[in-house]
């Protein structure tokens, strides 16, 4: 699904990402961990197209997206969530979920004035958004403004918004940051459900390793811009080098 | 071209007339007029009137072997008092002009007055008539076009002669409008008239509906104590707006209307319903008397020859003002104080395109004739129906 090869990106003299290579398979949930400043955020930005690498390549679903723009990447089905939820805060929960839907007839100025032309599609999209919100337990809040939600609900809505574009893979940046432990686990349970039911792949940057390790298929450990280790959660926990730099043992 | 080089070239270009002057003795005659704003087209025509006078004078000076030549330097007043002060200052500081023809309206004249008085610059205004500009001893001369103290009397005489007991006034809130309305109230009372009411409006209003509604209410209350008329002191565009609203008012169509000179315009009658309304209202206006001296025809002819189109209204006054200014400079030298001293004498002995330029103690035109106008039988233009002699306060109506 996602192949990353020899990715390098420098800022001035600092090599934030230094020769990183790994794969995310179809329907896999991959955790990306590492201490602060290890290059996780830069890596996400490179994949999502907000930054472009100095060298190396990124392929998604067989297509080279190394130098694609964020919206092109998003259209290909690789959506990104943010650490600080990126929402249309002035708009309702439902509007936020409806926005990313593709090929909406009502967005064309020729069709927009004729309600009959897009009513069917709008109802279909609304029904889908409804299912999605139901799944994320946001359905009762559909007419609230996004800015009125709690922190955890905003995170869920951010995921929901990313999902409504029907992506095949989601990049998530610390989905549980600033969320109570109980809700954090719930968020990951939602992720697991989505992975199972909708065959979605995930690449998740996360600090809460205790929760993360329960839900991922593979873990990549970054250290000073390089991949320190990669493998199944159980192997990583046992890896000596990881324990040294990460757990400080 | 880079910016600095552009500035250098512009500087050189602007200096070139100084070097080109050669053996001639150039005297700059300043011209300040509104070139932009609602009165912009007036200003452009007035400047042509001045330029024609200067060209004719230079030709005569050359033929007579004189070394003196007049050149003009003009600036835009933007039609505002501030802009007028700036324009006068610009002309004086950049060209050293001591005598300026202009500005146009009384508010522009008053805006430039302080600078002119303090710097010994003489302003020769060809069309300002607001009573507020009638100040003795200042550096402003208002030639050819009589001040509204005379026309106010004309309105009062018409009102009394027609038997109006009361008058509801709608006037422009500027020195011209307020001056004329103030004087009218005084003269109307002095001539035995009854009550008056006043509504003032800001020039160039987006909408006059409030004012017209109030005018209607004033007419309603005045009518209780006798026959009432409306006196409208407005610019043409404002008058059109006012009349459009008056058309649908239940009361304003039932009384007579009197209008100022700006309303003596056939454009006002283009709209058939407005024309019918005004005919029904026995509409009468007072305008400058259209006498012409033999000079007027020559002026119009030369103007058309020079510029390819006939002169606009009042352009002849600018022509006359420029001649008075130049004659004064030739008589006393290009010096503000000297011109100020001799100008009344020169003007009093100058007969221009319309009348003799005799001035009063305020430095304002003292000979005042007005025509009284009404709408013609076809309802598409105005025709003169009488004459008012301001100096003698006598009104003669035809028929």
């Amino acid at each position: 699904m996602l192949q990353i090869r020899d990715l390098t990106r420098s800022f001035g003299g600092l090599r934030a990402v230094d020769g990183v290579s790994f794969d995310v398979g179809d329907g896999q949930v991959t955790g990306l961990i590492g201490p602060n400043g290890s290059g996780k955020s830069t890596l996400l930005n490179l994949i999502a197209g907000q930054l472009h690498p100095d060298t190396g390549s990124i392929h998604f679903g067989g297509q080279d997206i190394t130098r694609s723009s964020p919206d092109a990447i998003n259209r290909l089905g690789l959506a990104r969530g943010y650490q600080d939820p990126a929402l249309f805060f002035q708009m309702s929960v439902l509007d936020n979920t409806l926005l990313p839907a593709r090929e909406q007839l009502g967005e064309s100025p020729w069709h927009a004035p004729w309600h009959a032309r897009w009513r069917g599609q709008e109802q279909h999209n609304a029904a889908r958004a409804d299912t999605l919100l139901e799944r994320l337990q946001l359905r009762d809040l559909f007419d609230r403004r996004a800015s009125d939600l709690s922190g955890g609900q905003m995170k869920l809505l951010d995921i929901g918004r990313s999902l409504s574009g029907e992506p095949s893979m989601l990049l998530l940046d610390e989905p549980t940051a600033g969320v109570a432990p109980k809700l954090a686990r719930e968020i990951f349970q939602h992720i697991a459900t989505l992975n199972r039911e909708a065959a979605l792949s995930f690449l998740i940057v996360e600090h809460r390793l205790d929760i993360l390790f329960d839900f991922v298929d593979q873990v990549i450990v970054l250290h000073m811009g390089k991949v320190l280790a990669a493998g199944k959660p159980d192997d990583i926990v046992k890896d000596v080098r990881v324990r040294e730099v990460y757990f400080g043992l | 071209m880079n910016c600095r080089r552009l500035i250098a070239v512009l500087l050189v270009l602007s200096l070139s007339p100084v070097f080109a002057s050669g053996a001639q003795d150039n005297v700059t005659l300043g011209v300040v007029m509104p070139f932009t704003g609602a009165l912009g087209s007036f200003g452009s025509d007035f400047v042509r009137g001045v330029e024609l006078a200067v060209a004719q004078m230079n030709a005569e000076l050359e033929a007579a072997g004189s070394a003196t030549r007049f050149v003009t330097a003009s600036a835009d007043t933007e039609g505002t008092p501030d802009g007028s002060a700036r324009a006068v200052q610009t002309v004086v500081q950049t060209t050293g002009a001591n005598v300026i023809v202009g500005p146009l309206t009384t508010s522009e004249v008053l805006g430039a007055k302080q600078y002119a008085d303090e710097n010994g610059v003489v302003l020769v205004a060809p069309a300002s008539s607001g009573p507020a500009g009638g100040i003795p001893g200042d550096n402003i001369f208002r030639v050819m076009y009589p001040p509204d103290t005379f026309s106010a009397k004309a309105y009062a005489r018409i009102a009394v002669t027609r038997g109006y007991q009361n008058v509801a006034i709608l006037n422009l809130d500027d020195p011209y409008g307020n001056g004329l309305a103030d004087r009218f109230q005084i003269e109307f009372a002095a001539a035995g008239g009854g009550s008056t009411t006043r509504i003032t409006y800001t020039p160039d209003p987006p909408d006059l509906s409030g004012e017209i509604a109030r005018l209607s209410a004033d007419v309603a209350s005045l009518s209780e104590s006798g026959e009432t008329a409306v006196l409208c002191v407005c610019f043409l565009g404002d008058a059109q707006k006012a009349l459009q609203l008056a058309l649908v008012d239940p009361l304003l169509g039932t009384v007579d209307w009197i209008g100022n000179e700006a309303m003596t315009a056939p454009e006002l009658l283009e709209d058939a319903s407005v024309s019918a309304f005004l005919q029904n209202a026995d509409f009468v206006t007072v305008g400058a008397y259209s006498t012409e001296t033999p000079l007027a025809a020559r002026f119009a002819e030369s103007f058309a020859e020079h510029f390819g189109n006939p002169p606009g209204p009042f352009t002849n006054y600018a022509f006359d003002a420029a001649n008075i200014a130049m004659l004064s400079i030739l008589a006393a030298g290009n010096d503000g104080a000297a011109v100020k001293s001799i100008l009344p004498f020169i003007s009093g002995h100058y007969i221009g395109t319309t009348v003799q330029g005799l001035l009063d103690d305020n430095g304002d035109q003292a000979i005042a004739w007005y025509s009284i106008y009404q709408i013609n039988a076809d309802g598409n233009d105005f025709e003169s129906v009488g004459l008012y002699n301001g100096s003698a306060d006598s009104l003669e109506l035809d028929g």
Binding site: N74, G106, S108, G165 | S41, T202, G210, K241
Partner: protein, 306 residues
């Protein structure tokens, strides 16, 4: 206050308020979606008025044709200003203040082009050639065909705009662009197209408002500029963001300018020259006491709120 004054001034409040609402909505739309306090809006309005005048003089006297072509001209002028000036300028990442000045400059240029043209073709202070007819005359209440054109057309247009913005996917994307342009871009919305459409819509409403305003009074190059102050007052009352607030603000400003002014004149003798100051007073009071405008009093999900 005499009933004649009260009734006439109320009729004018409604009439002028509808026009203000139509103009202010355009300003609110550009303010939110494009993030530009657009002073050139005044000249989009004037352009519409002049188009209506020229059409009525030389082409057709059908109100539908006149209003239609005026709407089109406003839309085209707005779109061209966007493509020729505002878009290249905003690519230089100018601050809002610089963009505001740019909009002043665009307005100034348009205004003086109209001045030159109307001077050359003698179009100063002409009326759009739709003859005035009195349709209702009940003692003090006088309603003309102009009232019956201005008010329904403005209100219909305002409702249509509100529906477009609140109910359609296009409106949703406009609101999304207003709310978070970066995210809208990443989500792959056709941001440039939405911007252009917003300009078209703003221009169209401005052009229509200009034609209607021209029907109400006379057409001259200052028409839009003289009306822009009360219109901005209305938009500021709406917090420069809320649709419902802006509409309410428009009628409130018109009410102050007409009925309140009439009452002040009647009871205190304040002259009508102070009418021009009313929008200033409203703007200052709102900015001092309630900078968010009327939002909070009126809040709907379809609004472009903060």
């Amino acid at each position: 206050m005499p009933p004649a004054l009260l009734i006439t001034s109320l009729v004018h409040s409604i009439q002028v308020g509808s026009l203000y609402a139509l103009m202010a909505l355009g300003i609110t739309l550009t303010m939110r979606v494009i993030r530009l306090p657009n002073f050139a809006h005044a000249e989009f309005v004037t352009t519409g008025a002049f188009t209506a005048l020229v059409v009525s003089l030389f082409l057709s006297r059908s109100p539908v044709v006149i209003l239609g072509l005026a709407t089109l001209s406003g839309a085209l002028v707005a779109l061209s200003s966007h493509l020729l000036v505002f878009r290249p300028m905003s690519r230089r990442k100018l601050s809002t203040y610089s963009m505001l000045l740019v909009s002043f400059a665009v307005g100034l240029i348009l205004r003086y082009v109209l001045f030159v043209l109307s001077d050359y073709y003698q179009l100063f202070d002409k009326r759009i050639q739709i003859p005035l007819q009195i349709l209702v005359r009940e003692s003090y209440l006088v309603l003309t065909n102009i009232t019956f054109t201005i008010v329904p057309v403005s209100i219909a247009c305002v409702i249509a705009l509100a529906l477009l913005l609140g109910r359609t996917a296009l409106g949703r994307e406009m609101r999304a662009l207003a709310s978070n342009p970066e995210l809208a871009h990443i989500l792959g919305m056709r941001v440039e197209r939405i911007r252009s459409l917003t300009w078209l819509l703003t221009g169209a409403t401005a052009g229509l408002a200009g034609a209607l305003w021209g029907l109400y009074t006379f057409v001259n190059p200052l028409l839009g500029w003289l009306a822009i102050l009360p219109v901005f007052a209305a938009a500021i009352l709406g917090g420069l963001s809320s649709f419902a607030g802006t509409i309410l603000g428009a009628y409130l400003v018109a009410f102050c300018e007409n009925t309140l002014m009439q009452a002040l004149n009647h009871y205190t003798g304040l002259t009508f020259s102070f009418k021009a100051a009313i929008p200033f007073v409203i703007i200052i009071l709102v900015l001092l006491l309630r900078p968010q405008g009327l939002t909070g009093f009126v809040r709907r999900s379809g609004d472009l709120e903060r």
